[in-house]
Symmetry: D2
Subunit: 324 residues, 4 copies
Amino acid sequence: MCTAATYQTKDFYMGRTLDYEFSYGEEITITPRYYPFHFKHGAVLEDHYAMIGMAHVAENYPLYYEGANEKGLAMAGLNFVGNAAYGHPMDDKDNIAVYELIPWLLGQCASVADVRKLVKTLNIVDTVFSPQFPNAQLHWLIADANEAITMECMKDGLHIYDNPVGVMTNNPPFDKQLFRLNDYMALSPKQPSNNFSDKLDLGSYSRGMGALGLPGDLSSSSRFVRAAFVKMNALSGNSEVESVNQVFHIMGSVEQQRGCCEVSEGHYEITIYTACMNVSKGIYYYTTYTNHQITAVDMQKENLNGEMLVRYPMLQEEKILIQN
Amino acid sequence: MCTAATYQTKDFYMGRTLDYEFSYGEEITITPRYYPFHFKHGAVLEDHYAMIGMAHVAENYPLYYEGANEKGLAMAGLNFVGNAAYGHPMDDKDNIAVYELIPWLLGQCASVADVRKLVKTLNIVDTVFSPQFPNAQLHWLIADANEAITMECMKDGLHIYDNPVGVMTNNPPFDKQLFRLNDYMALSPKQPSNNFSDKLDLGSYSRGMGALGLPGDLSSSSRFVRAAFVKMNALSGNSEVESVNQVFHIMGSVEQQRGCCEVSEGHYEITIYTACMNVSKGIYYYTTYTNHQITAVDMQKENLNGEMLVRYPMLQEEKILIQN
Amino acid sequence: MCTAATYQTKDFYMGRTLDYEFSYGEEITITPRYYPFHFKHGAVLEDHYAMIGMAHVAENYPLYYEGANEKGLAMAGLNFVGNAAYGHPMDDKDNIAVYELIPWLLGQCASVADVRKLVKTLNIVDTVFSPQFPNAQLHWLIADANEAITMECMKDGLHIYDNPVGVMTNNPPFDKQLFRLNDYMALSPKQPSNNFSDKLDLGSYSRGMGALGLPGDLSSSSRFVRAAFVKMNALSGNSEVESVNQVFHIMGSVEQQRGCCEVSEGHYEITIYTACMNVSKGIYYYTTYTNHQITAVDMQKENLNGEMLVRYPMLQEEKILIQN
Amino acid sequence: MCTAATYQTKDFYMGRTLDYEFSYGEEITITPRYYPFHFKHGAVLEDHYAMIGMAHVAENYPLYYEGANEKGLAMAGLNFVGNAAYGHPMDDKDNIAVYELIPWLLGQCASVADVRKLVKTLNIVDTVFSPQFPNAQLHWLIADANEAITMECMKDGLHIYDNPVGVMTNNPPFDKQLFRLNDYMALSPKQPSNNFSDKLDLGSYSRGMGALGLPGDLSSSSRFVRAAFVKMNALSGNSEVESVNQVFHIMGSVEQQRGCCEVSEGHYEITIYTACMNVSKGIYYYTTYTNHQITAVDMQKENLNGEMLVRYPMLQEEKILIQN
């Protein structure tokens, strides 16, 4: 499954892991302003905000997993299997297929406030990109430097939740996830006090005991609590390199190691890639399971007034620096 | 605090994290065969096995944190504060100061079997390297491709424990740590069955629910359980790069993120560096908190018949690959 | 707070604990068929099913906490503070005040199926019994031998949930509570297997390790999981005494001991009384915090065709049998 | 298995549960001062302190499970399977068989201080009462109004541990059990604070959330933590009835319900009986799984200068008070 988290220093960042048992073939993809989006149910965006993100490109179309636009809005789609439900086209709605949602919103919205307005007429539909690409069941974390929201389309309609923690994983629905944090409110980066009994001589035998009770497994609800704790307590300097570095450490706390999550006999989910987007500047940083070094693609180095997708392969080979 | 773990594919590896709130200044240090060790209480090793590891070098002496020798034996010292107890020199013993223990053993022992013999006359003493360097309170993970042991010197004497899991952290003593794993025996990388009640329709709403209950905090006992689960279930290919890659993923599961473990007002323990030693070949790989890229130093590229320490600085600057 | 649970052997039972820091003065109260209920907003029941339960009687009106009627339907009201929301009278509805709900439903419904029909026109209103008696914020467990439901009236309307586990506590809303059970599906009354690693010699050092992870605190969500586990796995003979005995053991698993739940400086919530209703036969059994002996009041021993409440004081003095 | 706990108000109390899948046939048994104890390996007590407790009486010999003597010393034997180890008779020792230990100590010691002295020459031996009665593997909680100790005889000798919590269960050895309490030091009867993040609006949705993390299963280590928390925080009045009442509530927190602990196919461990001894006065109170009413036997009502055991059957029939 996946985890996403926002982070704010001088700039605004969004991190995400993509956890799965195989890859569809992803590329870091920049969509410049004049690449035309012809949406399945008629809408057209001939010009729009430029965006960068990870995408599977099929028939020259960027199927984005997550992305950020030039205005400082970011968005990530994460699995929401069994809860996501999309409908059929309706006459008086903006009918947007699931796979079109990231371009639709990042192309037009400069902020979460814009998103809130645009989704009022939104109808997310189950139309497929092609018979070979059934739609994923997704929900979305959408954030700018001011706020974050979670968007979930379920049988009972579209839910827009304020997301004060700026973290999202997968099932269950976001209101259940957020509520569960109350159970962990006593956890702390500081050492615990002895509340058990003042007649017993209890004490800390290790550093880090203030967060005893934090879940360590890879299920979506445990990753949510753990990522929330790490993100809310994370500290770093304000510089670009310090911020990016820390986002990768935050995301590392919910990484999936090969062998620890068996999804079928002999098949294991792993963190295929981890991304950190500098949303303020349009820089996409990533590591992969097979390569620990951070690699960066900067949207501003490309001609954003173009019409053609700019694509960079995901570098996957472990780049080890040989010191002697 | 710290975590260490062994890993076996085609070669034998030992990983470790060093967690602390500041660094003493470490260097990757190779001690060639003819560097003379003059131990404080009289013992001398004019020639010995060559070794590589991370050390603080003071007055040309390598204060090793962990290391591996050319025979395939590795050893790591980890904090054991409050439990470690060292004695005074005794007449009929090999009196070795705490800080001398790694060279003493790696210099003379080709295997854990050799260690078991040599420690029969060992007396670990509290003699300091110099007034500026009080001894750390440590215990040790010692391992070769065949077996691992934990060595703990406490008030009631020297304990040598078989370590079937090949993992060690800090407090409490190792027998307590190992016993605690029984409480987690039901955890699995596979999805759980419904044992609660066959009259209730319970099911997995997320992948990875088989390990619900695995602790996620940074205390030493929680890191022990988590590292043990990840290490025992970890899977990778046999090649050097796949093995090294996986060791860093294993160690990543117990990494300490800045902000999550406050040790005093405004001071935080972090994973200063993470190491992976190919013990079979004498290659030392490491990352630092500030640099995600793996860096390597290979003992075999140096003249192991020398008399002088070979030292490489720990590279700490984030090496980001700029892809465009 | 409180816990309620159903239990089925030859007869059908409902148990409940009432947890609070003080008592309003309760009596075991039988309402015979011709006691007239004049509901605040106009409805009248001149004759109805007879019922028995625990009630605070004010101005000759039985303010029931829980009860069972002569047809085999039982109902318990439990605290639902912060989530319960009641409305104002509406023209085309059966406007029933919170405190009237138990008589309204037990008086007219012979089964949960009847309840499902009757509540279609129900509007639970916030009208108070008297200025001295502000309404409690409640939700209800309603059950017969065939099925159980949870009824919750919240800001977004009236929710009727199937309750397959037959257990209810307090916050959060029932759908969240029921969903949480999925996290505990691996728990079992049987000993666990070693799923952690087949290379480690892990084993059970105690009986009862299959349910490690079951929460033991007194919060409502922990009591829900614990009571669900105990109830779903509980076993007893079919006789009246064996069944009643076992219901008190089930409820004992969520009892609140004085001192363990401080609600304000020096004030502690305790299990004021525990009830077990034989719903099939109309017998009300109870213990109190101060008296371990079970006391019974049998509805069938009274004239159910009367017009007057039949009231028995709650016996609270510890009845110790002196054997010598 | 079993749990024992001390409790102090005006008088001193010891409670215990006996958990097992069947009963050997127990009786409340008073041993007066002149009942002669002829120990297997030669020691004889022609006169001794009188004692009361639960025993299986075989060949007119009281095989005590727990007991208290007229001087205010109490002692309970609890299962310690796999860890207990007893030896062979030795020349210069008081060789006492396992089953003789309670009479040996309660017969001669007026206090824990006396016990500490007497055990200096004690050698607990594995001699059986008879071929039909193999020795149980036990350890003991021994306490007076001033202090409590745990006594464990293992392969490495006899261990006497100070027991500041006054609670004991079964495996693992007591030092491990006591150490584990450090992991629960943050638990409290009070509501938790929000330490997770001051930027999140987390709060208590239920009373009793301060002890979230307290284990609720029936394993010996979980019962130890739970009984310790309940006992250390328990509050009651000072009177006899209030004190006895509260001890039964404390012990109720670790009761084993039928169906929740399967020890072999279709066989379940339950709390066969629960005892509360007023150690100061020599009164033995008990309930059984099948009878919730407290029954009492008072040693002082018997002739303590006798030579014959005084035996009372364990009353097991549920005594329900019929109120109408």
